[in-house]
Subunit: 274 residues, 2 copies
């Protein structure tokens, strides 16, 4: 059995199909459920999420970029991350990588620049559904959790829609000698944008598998269609949207080959869910 | 920089070379240090440890085999694991996979059989050294830790030698409905073998990255040369040995595509280091 079968059902396995459909219904806030066709014949079990560095490393002030956007692109066309020196946030979509900064700018990155932390994937959604009525981010996450066949695998999540409001932040560029992650977070620049079209991109990681490796549960970044607003999402209200879900049962973790990583006590405080 | 350079030094980087050599010395219990040649030109950063299922899953009684030895072989020729129903222990060396059981038998496995948990790698050691005087396992691990350029990456460890004593265990076959991992562990069969030639095979995982994913720090299994004794090592005394170390900065985690895994609360108690 693989996740794809739970999502889509299988003519030869009626009971599983029924179970899959039941999992996808039972929601009042979410409207029509659309099961998208598969664009790729590979099973979900061949799908790999690629992760550069770890949450532990980031929380322990290993802020130096060590992997290029070029290499990230060879491992995914979709995702999020933290630039070299955590100079803002990273949004990846349709093979393009964007950097947002605390000064409010958003730019496409060069392949030779480096990244300190990232989670990316070649986005191949197995499922999509529409949100037809307004819903805030926390309710959206809780609703989505109930629609997933399991919370024990990795999911890439893309939300394309119109948003009544999005509160997002950009981490400030850190300079050596690096202060703690918490201190950086305290200086993050928070902004709010209203009545905007855009995309949320990110991941859901299993709760317990993640805390030292990645962000547990949901971690989403925003990129508006006009490329004027982008960053790490704190709270939001979705007016209407199409949600795409791409399950993966494999994770490839790439650790930094750098002296700061090798020498870090990796004793930073785990911040928790994103 | 990569780990290989720290191990071996680099003509253009005298200070790093010196540091590497210093890291490799300073031991009284361990004799001549031999730096082996590299058999593969790839850098350590391309090396991948492959892990089937997670420690969380095992500790939460997800004991069903889900991945074949055949697939494991495509991801590594060396390593260890737990068979379907945790019916004993798995030892992999030189591309062959062996299963030991509580009845004391050791046999080579068939590719079509399945495994519930495993960590494997294509073994390509960057470094080797000789143990010339007796040392017990705990001191050996502490000594080895000091020789590593960092404890923040993954290492495959192979110890080929003569052992004064090895206390090892075989996990008992679990039957559905599965009891807890702790209950299985309480019924493990412990044995001791003395004055024997054989191999220890296993891994060292970073302390904090591992606990929910894999065994923190060292996890070693035994296979004697005569294939008569094998299992998970609890304690040992090495008489003399050659130790091979294979560093890796990438980990690929493969989660089970099974209903028991999908439905598990993953709430098993984390047992800790191996």
């Amino acid at each position: 059995m693989d996740i794809r079968k739970v999502f889509v059902g299988d003519g030869s396995k009626k009971r599983k199909k029924l179970k899959g459909i039941l999992l996808l219904s039972g929601l009042t806030l979410v409207g029509a459920v659309t099961l998208s066709a598969f664009s790729v014949p590979n099973s979900v079990s061949d799908d790999v999420v690629f992760q550069a560095s770890t949450a532990d490393a980031l929380y322990s002030s290993v802020f130096d970029g060590y992997i290029t956007y070029g290499k990230l692109k060879r491992n995914g066309d979709f995702g999020l991350g933290a630039p070299d020196h955590i100079d803002g946030e990273i949004m990846a979509i349709d093979g393009k990588y964007y950097q947002s900064k605390t000064d409010g700018t958003v730019r496409e990155t060069d392949d030779a620049e480096t990244v300190s932390w990232a989670t990316v994937k070649f986005f191949k959604p197995e499922k999509s559904f529409d949100i037809l009525q307004p819903i805030d981010c926390e309710d959206f996450k809780a609703t989505l959790d109930k629609k997933l066949p399991t919370v024990n695998v990795f999911y890439a999540i893309k939300v394309v829609g119109v948003f009544d409001s999005v509160q997002y932040q950009n981490f400030p560029r850190m300079e050596k000698p690096y202060a703690s992650f918490s201190e950086g977070l305290a200086n993050a620049v928070n902004e709010e944008v209203n009545d905007v079209e855009g995309t949320f991109m990110g991941f859901r990681f299993p709760e317990k598998t993640a805390p030292d490796l990645n962000v547990p549960q949901y971690h989403l970044h925003l990129l508006t269609n006009d490329k004027q607003n982008a960053g790490h999402i704190n709270t939001c209200k979705i007016r209407r949207a199409r949600v795409y879900i791409d399950a993966a049962s494999q994770l490839k973790v790439d650790l930094p080959n750098t002296l700061p990583y090798y020498q870090s006590p990796l004793d930073g405080e785990v911040i928790g869910s994103g």
